[in-house]
């Protein structure tokens, strides 16, 4: 097995891919679109319920209301101002308390208040505002509830620095980019098998191991390059750079390994697509677990891409380091070795 021969084969595959101008343009455009979609999504999360308040309250009451996390009170002088702010979309709703509200409530007299909201406000927000108004009234009246709540926060407390939805999508995008290259490598291999050029290669000084190495490097390189460009542009390399790069590389190697397996499993390009789509669907499942926490149970750990998704998510979104994530990397490497060996074995068997 000569490095020169392997280099020549890699060069040939890359040259063929790049010579196809349409493919080259689409490759770049694909990355641009993924990056644009990511950048287009909101970069922050609105953690507070913003509401307006028209009321004559004792000093410090507003501060007392805002002391509880998640509330932001905007004070207005009159109902008209409050209504204008709601109609202009500055706030979704607000409360108006009459001047004698506190005096009446403390003396046990019936009280009334007005709740304004935009007609475009979702039902759950309207309902939340009504509940809030009631509790604010009790707070103002100084009527505490005889319940002691002992709270325990489970997991990382991200109050004040929540993860934006677009960042939870980042592992999914990266996995999609990598797995799409798996399809490309599988179809490249399948084409070589179908057109029998792979047999022609075997009568040259190239051996089967060299062929796999060359194809594997091409597939891994293409997947790794795209995933790195995407992650770098969206700021995913800002923390734990080395760890993220290694994870992407292992992901790209995994794509190559599965690519061999899929190429061997398929009879022709169409069946390669069928197997490829099946793998893509199954391997995307762990990424949905990041987007919808708690929606997927423990069995997801049996899907190898879980370790790719989880490592990327932990490193990029939470800044977890080598110490926390080395078991994931080790498992990913183990799965990669299994996929590559299995892929090589099946292709070799297919070639007889």
């Amino acid at each position: 097995m000569s490095a020169r021969i392997i280099g020549a084969l890699i060069q040939k595959d890359l040259a063929l891919a790049m010579r196809n101008r349409f493919f080259s343009v689409v490759l770049v455009l694909g990355l641009v679109v993924y990056i644009a979609v990511y950048l287009f999504m909101p970069s922050d999360v609105d953690e507070d319920i913003d509401f307006g308040l028209v009321a004559k309250l004792p000093p410090g009451t507003i501060e007392q209301l805002e002391a509880g996390e998640g509330l932001k009170v905007h004070e207005f002088e009159a109902d008209d101002e409050l209504k204008t702010a709601i109609e202009d979309g500055q706030i979704m709703g607000g409360l108006s308390l009459p001047d004698d509200f506190i005096a009446d409530i403390t003396s046990g007299l019936p009280v009334s208040a007005s709740l304004y909201y935009s007609s475009a406000t979702p039902e759950e927000y309207r309902s939340a505002l009504k509940v809030l108004l009631g509790e604010i009234a009790y707070t103002i009246a100084g009527k505490p509830l005889g319940v002691e709540v002992n709270t325990t926060v489970l997991g990382r407390d991200t109050t004040g620095s929540p993860i934006a939805p677009r960042d939870t999508l980042l592992p999914l995008f990266a996995v999609f980019i990598i797995l799409t290259e798996m399809m490309s490598l599988a179809s490249l291999m399948s084409e070589e098998i179908e057109t029998r050029t792979i047999r022609a290669l075997m009568v040259t000084p190239m051996n089967i191991r060299g062929l796999f190495l060359a194809k594997g490097i091409t597939g891994t390189g293409m997947a790794f390059f795209q995933a790195v460009v995407f992650t770098a542009v969206v700021g995913g390399l800002g923390t734990q750079t080395g760890l993220v790069l290694l994870t992407l590389l292992l992901g790209a190697v995994m794509a190559a390994g599965i690519g061999f397996l899929v190429a061997a499993a398929g009879r022709d390009l169409m069946s390669v697509m069928a197997w490829g789509v099946l793998f893509m669907l199954v391997f995307s499942v762990p990424a949905f677990g990041v987007i919808f926490p708690g929606s997927i149970s423990g069995w997801v750990r049996f899907i190898p891409s879980f370790y790719l998704v989880d490592t990327l998510n932990q490193a990029v979104n939470y800044g977890s380091g080598w110490g926390d994530l080395w078991p994931n990397l080790a498992r990913l490497a183990g799965f990669n070795a299994a996929f590559i060996l299995l892929g090589m074995w099946t292709v070799r068997r297919k070639l007889g």
Partner: protein, 352 residues
């Protein structure tokens, strides 16, 4: 173009098509996606905080919480299950109600409850859940004040539920997946196997071949568009007009597929292109998902002129006057793209 030849070729496509993997995908995937996207993304963007309750006694709070629209409530039969659900992020908060909770409230005793909070839950969700629990406990305790809330809705906007916002996306996916992929893969297959050259030496012209493939795509795309609307019970009050718009949309989907089939050299290139341009095709659906986006953003994309009339007819009950402009633009675009396809087909014929 010869109608008989086109009919024979279409018959061939209809007989062999269903055995094709892409055909099966074109039928199955939109239906599955329709169900998954609605269920999954509906919950991703829903802003209702999730509360879990483990009741060691028999508190009325559980039933009352289920009636509050501001929160989504689940009851657990084991404390450990509740804690696990909070830890995984399936719940924003889980509370454990001790035995005799209601009696303690009614007799004015200080009672304690344990609350587990998911670390990544938003501050506003924690607030809403906190005040909801307090409000329910207050109702049970009977320590209420005589408070009347006058609710005033401002503006004429409408809160659009997520099921409705997602409809444009799933309609487009239903129509474009099969409508684009079927003719594109069919042409690429014929090109790669050189059967397209063989066909042209028969009485069938290149025009007959392309029209038969297009008809096959239009049938599938139209059926899928109708099916998605039927599944989502969104057929509106003008079915004739709606089917007409869907038919124009199906033709556009197929025209894109023909262009892809002509330009893409192989399946890999097609796949890379779909990966990229697919997002552009579905872009107008995002304008409906996020009403805060200006409508002109959607108007830049050709598929907007399919989805705008579909939404107007199926969800707002509008007739021809309400959609005439968009449908006319859609028809114009369909003719324009057909011209481009015809030019390319002529160029291929000259080469052959």
């Amino acid at each position: 173009m010869n109608l008989r030849n086109t009919g024979v070729l279409l018959g061939k496509e209809l007989i062999y098509g269903p055995k094709n993997f892409i055909f099966i995908m074109a039928v199955v995937i939109p239906i599955v996606l329709s169900l998954v996207v609605t269920a999954v993304f509906g919950s991703l963007f829903a802003e209702t905080p999730r509360l879990g309750i483990y009741d060691a006694g028999n508190s009325a709070l559980v039933d009352r919480a289920g009636q509050v629209e501001a929160v989504s409530v689940s009851e657990f039969v084991q404390e450990t299950e509740l804690i696990a659900a909070v830890e995984s992020g399936a719940l924003d908060m889980g509370i454990i109600l001790p035995a005799g909770f209601d009696e303690a409230l009614k007799t004015g005793q200080i009672t304690g409850i344990d609350a587990y909070i998911w670390g990544e839950s938003l501050a506003k969700d924690r607030t809403v859940l906190g005040v909801t629990i307090a409000s329910l406990a207050r109702d049970i305790s009977g320590q209420t004040i005589d408070l009347t809330i006058e609710v005033v809705s401002l503006g004429d906007g409408k809160s659009v539920p997520w099921e409705e916002r997602l409809l444009p996306l799933i309609v487009l996916m239903g129509m474009f997946f099969g409508g684009t992929m079927l003719p594109a893969t069919s042409i690429i297959n014929e090109k790669q196997k050189k059967t397209i050259n063989a066909l042209t030496v028969t009485p069938a012209t290149l025009g007959d071949i392309f029209v038969s493939k297009a008809l096959m795509g239009v049938i599938i795309s139209l059926v899928m568009g109708i099916l998605v609307l039927v599944i989502n019970r969104a057929f509106g009050t003008h079915p004739g007009l709606l089917v007409g718009v869907l038919a124009l949309g199906s033709i556009m989907a197929v025209e894109f597929g023909l262009i892809l089939g002509i330009f893409a050299r192989d399946i890999s290139t097609l796949f890379a292109t779909i990966k990229t341009l697919g997002i552009l095709l579905y872009a107008p659906a995002f304008v409906y998902m996020f009403p805060q986006l200006p409508e002109w953003v959607g108007r830049v994309f050709p598929t907007f002129y399919i989805i705008q009339p579909v939404v107007a007819i199926s969800q707002r009950g509008e007739g021809w006057p309400g959609v005439a402009l968009e449908v006319t633009i859609l028809a114009g675009l369909v003719i324009l793209i057909a011209g481009i396809v015809a030019l390319r087909v002529r160029s291929i014929r000259e080469k052959l």
